[in-house]
């Protein structure tokens, strides 16, 4: 037990800061501290905006409007949040077992490839009913992602290969694999993209129903969001309510205790990596069938990595992943309205550092005692 206050003895402040570990962490406190962190981030971001000559209030108001201002932009925010929810859930389930799968990006790309293969090979002809083609693509995407998780999973389970390195490397392989197809085999007239998918392979969007509900006109939110919401509830149920989830939590907290309780760690390592990969793969499938409608290079601006951050911010709680993904979706969308990169990314970074740093206050209580009170 080291007391940080004792090490900073050289500094003679009129008061002393002491950090004491908290015995319990009530839920309201967590919410309050996170809110405080967001406020602090907004103030710091405001200073940055002022330094570059903008008005913080106006900029924030503009960003808020650009992400949540009306149903149209909010729908776009939800569209951005959809792949984030799925890749974040992939991170959540793996991290719960302390499997550091940072390959959600690659599993996302491979899921996209698997889904594309159904219509581009083609396995099913374009005139197939959407009722058959979409479930097939969902399955293909999930299986392809699971395969991309299975490989590092079995390497970890059988030969103790570090999953951080293997999943990271598999990201590059997945991107290169996709590139081979979009540059050559499935290239449309030499462009670096596949031909557009047949309409039967598009996930239904809200705007598709605008003839019945006029309000939906132009709304891009697609069925993938429903996949994400269902997946979040299922992952929540697995972790907190199922026998399998109990095993995952036990292995994550203390693998030696899990072994002592007769739990097969090898099998669970493979299965969890496969589920994690399947969720990320589903994210890739949903993005290309719901938004892009073709296989191309730039289908992800690093969703797989953002998902890792979201998973941490959600404290590995699958249901918390939903609001945080929506917030991030909004931030990505609104940021682009100010500057393509630069300032919005800066503000996003400040927000992340504040939120992750605020975790300290959740774990420790800060006491301030005036020096005069000391004997």
């Amino acid at each position: 037990m080291t007391n940080p206050a004792q090490t900073s003895r050289g500094l003679r402040l009129p008061f002393r800061l002491r950090f004491e570990p908290r015995m319990e962490q009530p839920g309201w406190l967590s919410a309050l501290i996170s809110l405080g962190a967001v406020v602090l981030a907004l103030i710091l971001g405001g200073i940055v905006l002022m330094l570059v000559g903008g008005s913080p209030i106006r900029a924030y108001a503009f960003m808020l409007k650009a992400a949540f201002g009306d149903i149209g932009v909010f729908s776009d925010t939800l569209t951005k949040a959809t792949p984030l929810i799925l890749v974040s859930l992939a991170a959540v389930i793996a991290f719960r077992m302390r499997l550091w799968n940072i390959g959600a990006e690659g599993q996302f790309f491979f899921g996209a490839f698997g889904a594309s293969a159904v219509v581009l090979t083609p396995i099913l002809p374009p005139e197939t009913s959407p009722w058959l083609i979409i479930p097939t693509m969902v399955l293909a995407g999930a299986i392809a992602g699971a395969l991309w998780g299975f490989i590092p999973g079995i390497l970890k389970a059988r030969f103790n290969v570090n999953e951080i390195i293997s999943t990271l490397m598999m990201n590059y392989i997945a991107v290169a694999w996709n590139n081979f197809f979009i540059f050559a085999k499935w290239s449309e007239g030499g462009f670096q993209m596949s031909p557009q998918f047949p309409r039967t392979a598009w996930l239904p969007r809200l705007t598709d129903y605008s003839s019945q509900v006029p309000l939906f006109r132009g709304l891009t939110t697609h069925l993938g969001l429903v996949f994400g919401l269902i997946a979040a509830v299922v992952v929540w149920w697995i972790i907190y309510r199922s026998r399998w989830g109990y095993e995952i939590r036990l292995i994550g907290d203390n693998p030696r205790a899990a072994r002592y309780a007769g739990i097969n760690i090898t099998r669970n390592t493979i299965l969890v990596m496969m589920l994690s990969g399947a969720l990320a793969g589903l994210g890739g499938m949903s993005e290309i069938t719901g938004v892009v409608h073709r296989l191309q290079g730039a289908i992800s601006p690093g969703y797989g990595f953002t998902g890792i951050i979201i998973a941490w911010l959600a404290k590995l709680n699958p249901l918390l992943v939903i609001p945080i993904s929506i917030l991030f979706g909004g931030l990505i969308l609104a940021g682009r309205e100010i500057q393509p990169s630069g300032v919005p990314m800066l503000i996003q970074g400040i927000l992340l550092v504040c939120l992750i740093g605020s975790d300290f206050l959740l774990r420790y209580r800060v006491r301030i005692t005036p020096r005069t009170q000391e004997a």
Binding site: E20, R241, R243, Y246, R249, N254, R256, A257, Y260
Partner: protein, 523 residues
């Protein structure tokens, strides 16, 4: 300097931790040339007091005088400079370096060029002076635990310690090694050094200490108790504040049929070296069988093989005649899984409560269902019945007196005794046929030890077969119906009498010559 001069004088030491007043106006004197035992249950505040004396903690209030001079320690280094050294329970040595290198580590003296052979000689002289026989050139990993402890003592002596604090120094030693240690301690006090001896073991306190200070709940409950004018029962009473029954009510009962039969078992340790060399033993229903031995002679490996955690290289383990673990047995199961063993009705109290027995960041509920979550009523199909799991946890908390605010409390917030009660609650509630209990009372205070021992006896009365592995001879002798002694991965002999001397000889590697009267009993 007169003999009655105080080497250390602590006055009104107060230290507050979040939620606990660890030391409440504690006074402590250490005379020059004395061995002073500091006695108290876990959490009585002994470690806090000594950590203050060695400069690890800063007291909130109070003064410390060393050799009549007021001091204020800002770091352990200050304390060492004032001649105060501590030998911790867990050694702080670098295994791949030699004895000399470990002793010189962190010192300013060999500044740049290390003339090792010169220092080897210096350290050998110092070692000989106090009878701490150890070769300075040897690497730490090649030394026995007792020798490593000598290196730790040498380390503090080399740094010029006049006051030595030993935290439970005998916990890891064989009886003969304890005698050696006591000889060393006496030769050190003859040289004018003063020793603080922290221990739970009343026999040792009576044997070695001149004076005793007893702490209870952060306060000194009795100071200046002379060992010449007291006895073990008296000390125990002072320590827990009530009379302790050292004689457990163990009813005579005839053992039933053989439950556990271990036959010529061989296994390797983590380094791949043979740890078990043909161990055979048996345990019957309604019988507690002790396994005595100094640490590191194959006890954990044996427990791990029986519970399926470690694959054997040869031999068989049978429960009720059926092979549960084996290598090369006629009816070996295809897999030596832990689950198979658990389902056979074998429960296991592991040696390492925090790293093996529990999951620190999961709730008490999640910890007590660790073995039973696969079966109804905790399991319901693929899911876990939360209501039943909580109810089960509530019942166990009540029945086993686990002190915790709720069953949702994380296991890491429980004290050692409560954690052990949680493990016992879980392992006993499954109504096991066979129980492998590893050091079930280690590190617990007297009150908790009694509770745990009575739980084991209750299991015996219920007809469970219990293999009790312990390094506490007293405990083994008072609880066991029979005792095996293990040394170097081999059973040295078996005894029913429980004479400490004979067991001590076997514990240090002397094979029992004539088969004792116990041979053949209960087979």
């Amino acid at each position: 300097m007169s003999k009655n001069e105080n080497a250390v004088e602590m006055r009104a030491i107060t230290k507050q931790f979040p939620g606990v007043l660890a030391n409440d106006h504690v006074d402590f004197d250490l005379k020059k040339g004395e061995i002073h035992a500091l006695l108290g249950e876990n959490g009585a505040g002994k470690s806090t007091l000594m950590n203050i004396l060695t400069g690890l903690y800063h007291p909130d209030k109070g003064t410390i005088k060393v050799h009549e001079q007021q001091v204020e320690f800002r770091s352990p280094k200050d304390a060492i400079n004032h001649g105060i050294g501590m030998v911790h329970q867990h050694f702080m040595l670098v295994p791949t370096q030699s004895v000399t290198e470990n002793i010189l580590l962190g010192l300013d003296d060999p500044r740049f060029r290390l003339n090792l052979s010169h220092y080897h000689d210096v350290i050998r002289d110092l070692a000989d002076q106090y009878g701490l026989h150890v070769d300075p050139r040897v690497k730490i990993w090649q030394l026995s635990v007792g020798e490593q402890q000598r290196v730790e003592i040498l380390k503090t002596l080399y740094r010029g310690a006049n006051v030595l604090i030993l935290d439970e120094p005998t916990a890891v030693l064989a009886p003969q090694e304890i005698d050696e240690l006591f000889k060393t301690l006496r030769s050190m006090t003859e040289e004018g050094k003063s020793i603080v001896f922290i221990s739970h073991k009343l026999d040792e306190v009576m044997a070695i200490a001149d004076r005793v200070t007893v702490m209870r709940k952060g306060k000194v409950s009795d100071a200046n108790v002379l060992t010449s004018g007291t006895n073990k029962q008296e000390l125990a009473r002072l320590m827990v504040g009530r009379e302790v029954l050292f004689n457990l009510d163990k009813v005579e009962q005839a053992p039933g049929e053989t439950v556990l039969a271990v036959d010529s078992l061989e296994a390797n340790n983590d380094k791949g070296l043979p740890a078990l060399r043909g161990v055979s033993l048996s345990v019957c229903a309604g019988e507690i069988v002790g396994l005595a031995g100094v640490a590191g002679n194959g006890q954990p490996e044996l427990a791990e093989v029986i519970t399926g955690l470690r694959p054997p290289t040869a031999g068989c383990v049978r429960v009720h005649g059926r092979v549960i673990v084996g290598e090369g047995c006629e009816d070996s199961p295809r897999t030596n899984t832990v689950r198979n063993v658990i389902d056979t009705g074998v429960s296991h109290i592991p040696e390492d409560r925090t790293h093996v027995g529990t999951a620190p960041n999961l709730s008490i509920t999640d910890n007590v269902i660790m073995k039973g979550y696969r079966q109804s009523p905790i399991a319901r199909g693929w899911s876990i019945d939360r209501t039943n799991a909580r109810g089960h946890a509530e019942n166990l908390r009540e029945a086993y007196n686990i002190l915790a605010p709720t069953v949702d409390t994380h296991a890491r917030l429980l004290s050692g005794g409560n954690l052990q009660r949680l493990i016992l609650a879980r392992e006993i509630s499954s109504e096991p046929k066979l129980m492998i209990a590893m050091q079930p009372t280690r590190g617990l205070d007297v009150g908790a030890i009694e509770a745990v021992q009575n739980l084991l006896l209750a299991q015996r009365a219920n007809g469970a077969a219990i293999l009790l592995v312990s390094e506490e001879l007293d405990e083994l002798i008072s609880l066991s119906d029979r005792i095996y002694v293990i040394y170097g991965g081999e059973i040295m002999g078996e005894t029913m009498e429980g004479d400490p001397e004979g067991i001590g000889m076997m514990m240090t590697g002397t094979r029992q010559h004539s088969p004792s009267t116990a041979e053949g009993v209960g087979r």
